[in-house]
Every structure is written in C-alpha cells, then in structure tokens.
Symmetry: C2
Subunit: 279 residues, 2 copies
C-alpha cells in the first residue's frame, strides 16, 4: 500500500477523532451522559454519551461519500455508501465510558482500519488491520500504529518496555467480579498494578512502556475494542496474544470476545504466561 | 477561627500548589524524574521528582518568614522560622509519584493544615486538621475541605455518594502484593473497581461521588499522605475509618501508618466492612 493512501485514511481517522471529541467534551462528568438509552448490537446497555459518540462517527463517515464498512459496538456491522467498500473501520466510539461519565481521566476513542481490498461481505479478522489510532481525550495523548511502519505517541516513534523481570514491572489489569483468583499470582509478583478501566488506552500504554504489560483474563473483551491497540503494541515491538498464548486472529464481529495479554517483550510475555498458569 | 484566617492559610496552600506544579511539570514522563536519589525520612526510596517537589514546598514556606511546623515524607518533621508555630503543615509534595514518572494522569499534591494554637513540640493527630487541599496536576482538579464548612471541587460545593447498594458501586482500591485475598470478596461484589495509584486523589474522589468508596487494606498507608483527603471526604458527608472501623486519630508523624476505608455514606461503609469481614 502506498504511503499516500495510508495518510489519506489516517486523516479520515483523525477527522473522526476531532469530531467525536468535540461532541463528547461538554458531556464529560455530567449525570445525563450516563443515562441508559438502549441496548447495543453487542447486547450491553448503551449510555447517552455512547450514542452521541457513535452518531458522530456515522455522520462523519456518511459525509465522506465513500463506500465503507463500519463495525462499531452499538450500531453493529453496517455498509455506508454504495459499491465495494474501500476500507473497513472498526471503531469503539468511546473507550472508558464510565470514566467519561465520572470524569476519571482515561476515556477516548479507538479506530482500527483494514485497507487492503476486502472480499466483502466476508468480515476480516484482527490480522487484517493495517492502521490503529487510540486517543485519550482526557490527556490529549494520541497513539497510532501502522503495519510495518512502527508505533507513535503524538507523532513521536515509541518502543515497548524491555524489562523482562516481572518483579520490576508496572502492569495494567482489567479487574471484574471473579477475576481476582486468576490474577492473584500475578498481583503478588509485579511491582505495581493499575486498573484505569479503559482497555484501548491501557493496552496502548504497553506501546511506550507506560505499562510493561496489560492483562485481561475475562474471555469477555470485545475484539472490536482492542483492534487498534493491538497493532499499536505490535508495531512498538510488543506482543499480544490471548491468555492461552494463541495469536489474536478473531473475526472482527461485534459479538466476538477474547482474553488478552499484551507485553512489552517476548520474554516478559512468557514469564507472565507462566505465572498465570495452566497454559 | 475567623474566616479571614482560614482564607489566609488556604492562599498559602494554593501558593505552594502553584509553585510545586510549575517545577514538577517539565519533569512529568521523563526517565530522569524517576532516578532514586536518596532514602527519605520515612525509609522509602526518594526519586528526583520527589526531591524537586519537596524542595519547592520548603522554599515557599521559608520565604513566608512565619514560624511553621512542616511534616513531609522526605524531610521528616521540621520547624521553619522562629517562635511558636502558627500552623502545622502536613504535606505530600507528590502524590502518585510513579504515575508522574510514567505520565499516567493521576498525580498531584496533598496539603493539610492544623491551624489551632498548637502545644508544640507535641505533634498533633489527624483530628486536629482543619483544612485540606488535594490537586491532581494532570487534570487541574482541586479538591478542598474546611472543618465545619464543607468540601469543594474547583470551588463548587460537593457531596459524597448516597448509593448504599454495594453491587452498584464504583470503588477504588490500593492493590499491592498479597492484598488480593483481602480484597477479593469486595471485588466480587462491587460494580466497578479502579486502581489509579494516587491515594490522596483517589480518596478525594469519594468526596464528589467519582468513587462511592476507596479501600486500602495494607496497614501501610502513610498518615501524612491521607491527612488532607480525610477532611475533604468528611466535610463532603462521607466517612473515613481504618479497616477495623476505628476513627483515624493517628499522630501526624512521618512514620505513622494505617489502613483506610472511605465511603460516601455510613450505610455503605457498614456494608463494605461486613464484606471485608472480621471486624
């Protein structure tokens, strides 16, 4: 793929990001932002702020007047425009919804794109993603990853952590009811544990060494939510698998779920796998 | 105490905050900020950014030319100026040091003051604090609490959460090696768990309902680190005790440690105590 084509689609991603940020900002920290307005395509409750964010994604893409395939949490899988799609966009319009509602400073957007000619209507899988963008609206930090061309934070090239001694690591973990048993051996070993509650942002933290690793053991993580962060980490030199150390090659459907372990380097990944056990 | 006197000391607190913020900002997210330069008065390693922050606190107070007693993590307990102290300042110059080093957006300052005439050299306890200020430098949010006069976020009056059904709560927890067993029953029950790794900020989150509760079960939390947040939560309508449900009346010494549970309301506090067990 030509650089100019990548740049074209990156700019569309950035346009979506700016527009969503603008409509979301006035709602941050307000009670009405958290009102549940419907049940999304993925079967989970959708809040008012989620709807506002996704509507802006759809509006932006519709105005482009290009044939696209959009995969997003609430709307599901939809064609926009006519003809064979030029790109598949996998979007989580608002990563960290509950943080946005409470004004905890980790919430933003995740946009992944598959730009290769697509044999529609077959839905591609995570390996087909060639561009990923994740922005934390609270801090302004923008992570990006481009297949074969590296990962970046605010335009500066980044690399993942080289620390492979687990006892020295800072690790992010998604903690949910009943996960504690699974995570306990890891918690006892790492230097520092964080749970910000915004998976795309926290997985991206592995790409610049903010975290040495990130762990989500639920088998309940939406594949569409991690599509962008996965390529960002991989392009930074890190490694991303599920908790069975299988490559993440899930179909990019809104109902697809996975576990995820992202590490700054292969040796650390092996160590973490060993500690979490049974793999 | 007269309102004008409170205002006078609040302004001194705000001056310290602005000056520390200015010297700390260029260091955020830089590797050198995390270099260990000495062992503090509390026996833990002190990073370069901690030293810079505390030095600015001392400089600001020295320039005031008023007799003060300062209690701070690295420097310990020191008299500044001559004569009987007009106030006791209990400062954590940098709450969330490792977040500041990694640029995770939860780091700031905690300043508590005891303003009543003090029977020096006796060190007062947590109950003597009459003013608390906690600022998150990453977001600009400033929490304040004044004995008998309420709690505020950026100057607006705030109140703690009224939710008393644990299954609906967002709870912050300090997670450290070996704590998982103690916290597991609570993790299984709450709606949402967060670990930002900045205790003063996270305890203050209880004052405006960002968190419904915050839990630190370590018995290893520095009393000086929570002095400001405690009064902020109490003045917001919340309740703060140790994990045995004892009032926090520890002496304000740098070596004093405690556990801490802060809840938005008494009923929730009782529920959490019951779930954590053995009390």
């Amino acid at each position: 793929m030509k650089g100019s084509e990548i740049k074209f689609w990156e700019d569309i991603g950035l346009k979506i990001i700016h527009r969503v940020e603008d409509v979301v900002r006035p709602l941050i920290g307000t009670p009405k932002s958290g009102e549940i307005v419907k049940i999304g395509a993925d079967g989970t409750p959708t809040t008012m702020i989620d709807v506002v964010a996704e509507k802006e994604v759809v509006n932006t893409l519709t105005e482009l007047e290009r044939p696209l395939f959009l995969i997003s949490e609430e709307i599901g899988e939809v064609m926009i425009g006519n003809g064979p799609p030029e790109a598949i966009l996998v979007v989580d319009p608002l990563d960290g919804t509950s943080n946005a509602i409470k004004k905890i400073p980790a919430y933003g957007i995740s946009i992944a794109m598959a730009l290769t000619p697509v044999a529609s209507p077959e839905i591609p899988n995570l390996q087909d993603i060639s561009l990923g963008l994740v922005k934390n609206f609270a801090t302004g930090d923008l992570y990006s990853g481009f297949k074969g061309a590296g990962a970046f934070l605010n335009g500066e090239k980044i690399g993942s952590s080289l620390i492979d001694d687990v006892s020295r690591t800072s690790v992010g973990a998604y903690i949910y009811r009943g996960d504690m048993n699974r995570l306990e051996p890891l918690c006892k070993t790492v230097r520092r544990m964080r749970t910000l509650g915004a998976v795309a942002i926290e997985i991206s933290y592995v790409a610049d060494g903010t975290y040495d690793a990130f762990v989500d053991m639920r088998d309940n993580l939406r594949v569409v939510d991690v599509a962008a962060a996965k390529i960002i980490v991989e392009e930074s030199g890190g490694i991303v698998t599920d908790r069975y150390r299988h490559a993440l090659d899930d179909k990019l459907g809104v109902l697809e779920k996975t576990s995820l372990i992202a590490s700054g380097n292969e040796k650390l990944h092996d160590e973490i796998m060993g500690i979490l056990g049974g793999i």
